[in-house]
């Protein structure tokens, strides 16, 4: 229980150890702790940001999908409408064309008929004249009865 130089010796060694601790132990450890704390905080913040970003992207994707679907149905409707139009148009064209062809054919037929009639008339007239000539050769003079024969040919 003597108080002696040990008191001073201990004070000196205490001072040295505290100095050493303050100089070489405390700062690196506490700095590393702070740095790690910051890194963890940053990591968590990043994770939060990424989560927000992902939610935003999901929402955007959903929106885009909806838009695309709308667009598609719009295009489909338009196409259907257009198809209907084209069919109607084609039908109208076909009808007109058909009528036109029909009319043309009719005209052709009419013309031919006319032609054939003309021809037949001529031939029948000739035949009638020949027949009449053969029948009436002796009795009738062609020049005398020409008027009557022409009237007959006219009626055919």
């Amino acid at each position: 229980m003597n108080i002696n130089l040990t008191l001073i010796g201990q004070a000196i060694s205490f001072t040295i150890f505290v100095w050493f601790c303050m100089r070489f132990i405390w700062p690196p450890v506490i700095n590393a702790l702070e740095a790690r704390k910051k890194r963890i905080a940053d990591g968590l913040a990043d994770a939060d940001a990424a989560k927000t970003e992902r939610e935003r992207a999901e929402q955007e994707a959903q929106q885009t999908t909806g838009q695309a679907r709308e667009e598609a149905s719009r295009i489909l409707a338009q196409a259907e409408r257009r198809a209907g139009e084209i069919v109607a148009e084609a039908r109208a064209t076909a009808k007109t064309e058909g009528e036109r062809i029909l009319t043309q054919a009719q005209e052709e037929i009419d013309k031919n008929t006319q032609q054939v009639r003309e021809q037949l008339r001529g031939e029948v007239a000739a035949l009638a004249v020949a027949g009449a000539e053969a029948v009436l050769r002796r009795e009738v003079d062609a020049k005398t009865h020409a008027e009557a024969l022409d009237q007959l040919a006219e009626r055919l």
Binding site: N4, I25, W26
Partner: protein, 282 residues
């Protein structure tokens, strides 16, 4: 072990004597070979065992923490690294709680106090006879291995801290402020005459309060550890077959004591330094 001594009293006395190197009354320097020689040396002597164990344990502290500090990175820590960092963080938290000023020295000081004192206290759990017996084989007759049972060690630390308290008080408050704190409280008066009359009373009260700090700070640690060691020594006087019935419970209880005393020393260190930094509170 106890049977080697003439009486229980002599055994106890022997175990409570430090290995002392100092100046004999005749002027020569050397080791003391008896308690009487130690007493005769007076102030000019040094407890070699206390100093050696204290410095040795201090080096253990510096080595462990220095190693961890050198390897400290922000990456994932290993087990040892983590343990050291936990301790540092615990001290940091305690200091933040009770120290409200900015001073780069306080936290390292607290860490050093806590760990070093804990290591010194820990020596108390080494059975009381082992190390002294081992040293007696090489001719060293006195060996106290718990530095904190030496009042020189505990007071050496508490007085160092007291010096810091005085230094920071003067630096933060100035000589006038510090003297004012010592003389104008707790009794104050508006009347100047009465004020002067109260100065000696205040100085006495505040002086006692101020001086009681380092004394109680050092002696609290010393007293607890000294008493603990004394009980271990008394238990060692029992017959061998009966010792464990008392030494085991006391050792288990003592684990709490050594940790608690180290913690109290540290907290008081921080609190005293905080008080030294406080200005304008009064």
């Amino acid at each position: 072990m106890a049977t080697e001594y003439a009486s229980g009293a002599e055994y106890i006395k022997h175990h409570l004597t430090n290995l002392t190197f100092g100046q004999h009354p005749d002027g020569s320097w050397g080791f003391a070979h008896s308690r009487e020689q130690v007493d005769a040396m007076g102030f000019w002597a040094i407890h070699v065992d206390s100093m050696a164990w204290a410095i040795g344990l201090g080096l253990v502290f510096v080595g462990l923490f220095g190693y961890a500090a050198r390897r400290a990175t922000e990456d994932v820590p290993g087990g040892f690294q983590n343990a050291i960092e936990q301790l540092v963080e615990f001290i940091d938290g305690t200091v933040r709680d009770s120290f409200s000023h900015r001073n780069r020295m306080v936290a390292p000081l607290a860490l050093c106090s806590f760990i070093w004192i804990f290591l010194m206290n820990l020596m108390d759990l080494v059975p009381v006879d082992w190390v002294p017996w081992a040293f007696s084989l090489i001719g060293v007759h006195y060996m106290k291995i718990v530095p904190t049972t030496d009042p020189n060690v505990t007071m050496g630390m508490s007085l160092s801290i007291f010096a810091l308290v005085i230094y920071y008080s003067l630096r933060r408050k100035g000589i006038g402020g510090f003297l004012g704190e010592l003389t104008l409280h707790p009794f104050s008066a508006k009347n100047p005459f009465l004020k002067i009359l109260l100065i000696p009373i205040n100085l006495f009260l505040e002086g006692v309060a101020l001086l009681a700090k380092p004394v109680s700070h050092g002696l609290r640690l010393f007293g607890n550890l000294y008493a603990g060691e004394m009980i271990f020594i008394l238990i060692a006087l029992l017959p061998l077959y009966a010792q464990w019935t008392l030494s085991v419970p006391w050792a288990i209880f003592h684990v709490l004591v050594i940790l608690l005393q180290a913690f109290i020393f540290m907290v008081l260190t921080v609190v005293y330094l905080n008080m030294a930094h406080d200005t304008g509170e009064h």
